[in-house]
Symmetry: D3
Subunit: 281 residues, 6 copies
């Protein structure tokens, strides 16, 4: 089961999105064409198969405009569904529902899209023991929701920001005059709950890094063969993360190299929306 985020972390985004859509005059079409006290029953339903994520966004969007509406989820975040699956049943004020529709769908569709793409990667590496993780290549303002969607798809989260782990990349190594020095400085700065990861781009750089005590080593753009060599070389002494050039075609071979972690930027930066609609019933 997917552990839900507190509404407290979701509601500000939902209200922002509604305000953005309602603008300065509200939904002028609903005001013109729908009686103020009309009610309706609708369902949120998928138009294509995928993994659900973001039902709370839909719920909060509806309730923000009609606090008395009933919202009954008929699926759960993290669940794989077929096209046509009913995700939630809603009864409430007709204007409120129609005015909240796009906000609900924009959020739920985007998050379900991330979850669906993540699941595809996770399925592709099934049985290898490799974990699919995300990156910081997220939508500004939505990082915590998109990382939640990755969890819905069966993925695992990388850093949430620049502050919750140390990740030494090429520019940092260059600035420190070498990987050994960079790791030494990082270890001196790190608290007892801060892990340290370092990026290497070759087996020789991996060899340089190994003695200096990183918790994780990111193997950047390694071939599957070199990944295997890295796995052999490190023999479980450190967590290895493959990164770069990962797509649905390449990910299986990468996973079979034995690395524990494969990070995929596309999970959040290029996932197409999952097509979900709202149907009157």
């Amino acid at each position: 089961m997917i552990e839900p985020l507190p509404d407290l972390l979701i509601e500000p985004i939902v209200r922002l999105a509604l305000a953005e859509d309602l603008g300065r005059a509200g939904d002028v079409t609903a005001q013109a064409c729908i009686d103020a006290d009309a009610t309706m029953r609708v369902v949120f339903a998928t138009r294509q198969a995928g993994v659900v994520s973001g039902l709370a966004c839909a719920r909060l969007a509806i309730l923000a405009l009609d606090p008395k509406a009933s919202f009954e989820a008929t699926a759960a975040d993290g669940q794989s569904v077929e096209a046509g699956a009913v995700l939630a049943k809603v009864t409430g004020n007709a204007r409120a529902i129609l005015s909240a529709e796009r906000t609900a769908l924009n959020l739920m569709g985007r998050l379900s899209g991330v979850a669906t793409l993540t699941r595809a990667y996770v399925d592709r590496v099934d049985g290898t023991g490799a974990r699919i993780v995300d990156t910081r290549k997220t939508t500004p303002g939505l990082r915590h929701l998109e990382k939640y969607a990755v969890r819905c798809g069966g993925g695992v989260n990388h850093r949430f920001g620049l502050d919750d782990a140390i990740l030494i990349k090429d520019n940092h190594v260059a600035a420190c005059g070498g990987i050994a020095n960079a790791l030494t400085r990082a270890r001196a700065a790190a608290g007892h709950l801060t892990k340290i990861e370092v990026e290497v781009d070759s087996l020789s750089q991996l060899a340089d890094a190994l003695p200096h005590g990183a918790d994780v080593i990111m193997l950047d753009n390694f071939t599957p063969d070199d990944l295997k060599k890295a796995v052999a070389l490190t023999a479980g002494s450190v967590v290895l993360e493959a990164s770069g050039g990962v797509n649905l075609q390449t990910v299986r071979a990468i996973a079979e190299s034995g690395v524990q972690v494969i990070s995929v930027g596309a999970l959040t930066h290029s996932a197409p929306v999952l097509d979900i609609g709202l149907d009157a019933v």
Copy 2:
């Protein structure tokens, strides 16, 4: 040339994104590995061909962390560039640049992705006179930026929100007991600067709508043949918008039907990021 948005509309997003990434401790890696007063020169460069959008985001991200940095744009929003094109040259505090990097790239990459996909649609309909327009299927909080990116790609904007035009859809028609009644109510409600659009899903519904004075009629999921019949039937008396089932394979045939406007949700809800990187020089 693309008309820029005022910084006033961009800066809040950039600062929000930086705060989201810096978290509660800032960039712990840069703090550990980069001297506080080190400077560096970098370029933003494309890793693939595309259309640029969002240079102001990159500029504002850098300047938010180092107000004294120099940021020289070497390309312009709306410009088509090859892989490897240098978009901007930056000199400034090394920590600031590295800490702002991801925020700058996340925004510029996303917006350039939207612009690039838009341009692909625009190019596909070249010579037909049809305009490619976006929808309200945008990222919560980023609508004005994504609609700007559509303009960078040569597209045109549909409504910005629920409040700046009337768009009567099937649920509104149902609630009003028919298209004639819906349009009558809409005209009564509309101000002298508010246009009215109505969605129809068949030629016979189009015929019902025609006498009632909409400014625009959206033809939902019409076949190219039916689109042509609609164009013939209306004979220029109303603007026609094709919607639904539009993709890069189908858009040319749709455009050749003679409709003036083709709306494409994918421009903003499913555009993959344009791969842009930051390179030390």
Copy 3:
């Protein structure tokens, strides 16, 4: 009936106003002189005749400080009432009611003032077919509420902001080197749901503008005679808006010229408050 704004668009203003009034210590008088658990019954009542607008503001102000209070509206926004009319009956915590009183009255009084003045203009042009519309001369932060109040008074809204229609004024014409060029540039920039209005200050400038396809032409400071000539000249081919020098003495003659739209800045920039009070019962 007046279509209500969603509470979502009103509540932030109400809470801001309450916070502004409560300051850093709350209502020190109520704390000193009213028992914490005392309750009271009050009514909101007019001290002069007018048109009601903003009942939701009063309701939300009371409920923000006492969520369990009962608020029963006994009039409706848009309704004309006599002096002494009871607009709402409230029962709840006495401190909460007294602390919310000024916020409730400041908002409801101001909006009702706008509605009342608007109604005066609307009544003055009764039977002529002319519509009274507002301008962007609104109170910073309250535009959407004041434009709602205009609707309550029977008026119609002009643009909500700089972004939801094109309105070409003298400075734009000057910058473009003439009205024809300005309209050509505007048409090229406008989306299919964006209307274009142009301001002219003489009949000859009107003649210049006519061939270039504006949706609306604003006749700035025309005499009633010139307005009639403009109506004759355009013969219904374009919407005409009279602007400038409009007051309760002049508006009837302006309306009788046959223009469709008369815009009045005073509706929002100079409407005196409607005197409403809160009475214990």
Copy 4:
């Protein structure tokens, strides 16, 4: 000279107002009709005589959109000017100036309207020693600016909110079972820097209040004759504030009664805007 507010207290309002006006697409007219790099020279000039207030709002609005613009104030807040007076000269980016124009004028016009009306009251009581003070009947969100405008007009500020003095009104007296008890509770609650004011509506209630040590007594809706009696009765032992039924016709007689303070809600709730325009030069 009027003591300026810190920009820190003004800028958030200005930026809010600009964002409200620019909406989601910015100034589409300026984008269409004005070249991005065009510059212009303009002046802010009055169209009628009055008292200036809010020049900082205009300055901050212009600079928010063009930080490099030059803004030269040629008048000062608090200054009385004739129709046609030039208040400020501005040179800068043409789009920025035209996009900021309405925000600048809305704020400066409103504040100057408040200052002008205040000055009219102040002039009317000239030589009597009475001070004209405002009330809490201000525009939500703009209280500190409107109270500043009152100072620009020569008025003095009453409470800024519910928290910076105790003001016992009829409902508080009723809740306490009498004026003596209310004042006793108030004195017990008040800190050493908190003044206490009590409202009375008759000479006999004034006599009840006098022994209980209020700093100020508000005489609500007293006739000029009763005001004189109150002045005689109190003989300078307490500050007297006349309130209710104050307008430009009645204020002189009220002031001549000898009260020290006259509060006027109309200063902020019903001041018409001062007509100011922006002219290209």
Copy 5:
């Protein structure tokens, strides 16, 4: 009884604190180790004797994460309690309670610490008639809460900010060229509800100040002997405030000098937290 602050002034702080603690992923420990639908019963209990303040913060923190939780206060703000006292009983969702725990304790512990220290000072001056007051040396963002806590401890509030009274200090006197001139300028600027206080640092400066009509004179760093002389000299004609060098050892002697007010910065800038815990039951 302590008069409560409206929730409206507390809730934003509580939600800010929760968001700060939940970060971008929420409470990962509770998500990992506590079932989503588990419930628990807990009590908030003191670990040491003190004065309670901030129960509303605890209530609002719990309810923000579980709106259906029951929160029963078993003590009241302002109450003196022993170690082990149960302040509130809570039943609700286990994750919500554990996630809100630290926010609730951080606020309630801090405020109770301020109240407890204040009570110690108040008790020390018992019977002297002197009041213990706070200063503006408060925690940024929490001033209104900390001043509330001072009231819970039996103290009285000094100014809430720079705007609600005039307090002339040495730098102001120096800028005005003397205390007489400073007080003259202050009286001219002060409204009828604004009190004026002036700081003096010697008996001779006190003598200079006396004729110029301050409401309060602050005696800065006076010895007890000089305080007594000041009391004798002023003979009740002005309120005297002792300030500087006040601690629990010195405060009694200061109070016995006969000053009415003793201000103590330590109440808010150096109060240790009151140790409160949350125990499962």
Copy 6:
């Protein structure tokens, strides 16, 4: 050297604090007594010995009110200074400096207080190899600043929030039915950059925990003897953190037990302010 936080993370707090202090009318004393264009030179100077932290807060407070002021730091965050040490020299507008004074001092004094107390603990354990770390017992809204101050004092940071590491406490263990199960669930949930800590309250519970792979074990309220046994038992296989009952008297013995980490809530919840003042020169 202490690595500075980006101004972006400090400025919002400073501006919030200034707005809180300026209220709705600004600094009425400075407005009354200081000429608007007067300038002054001041220094920030310590009144007692301590460790400096928060100079950037003082700088940003001054510059927020006078952007042209010069602020020259003459000490550095993290530096130990004597009483009377000059921390910064400032020249600028006199009103701005006096209005910003309290905000600057409140922040710098508080943070320097935290740094000074931290340094006292750090010095007390000198030579033992133990690190002093903070907790989440911080001031709501100021966590990132207070944790920065801990770093200035030579301490190290524990978790920044509930989301950046897993910390299993007694309630979590109880909910999971034992420590083994809790750790198993935690490991399943943790990403590859998330460390896991578990709290134990006895040597036998420590023995239970050891086989299950925590990164850190918190020894809650262990005696120094038991701490030594724990160190012996674990033999470096896991990081040990002592917690509970830590004060300046006990910390040395705790450190000599050989634990690597000692967490001290008092660093942030009970540090007295460092007395810093602003002196005109």
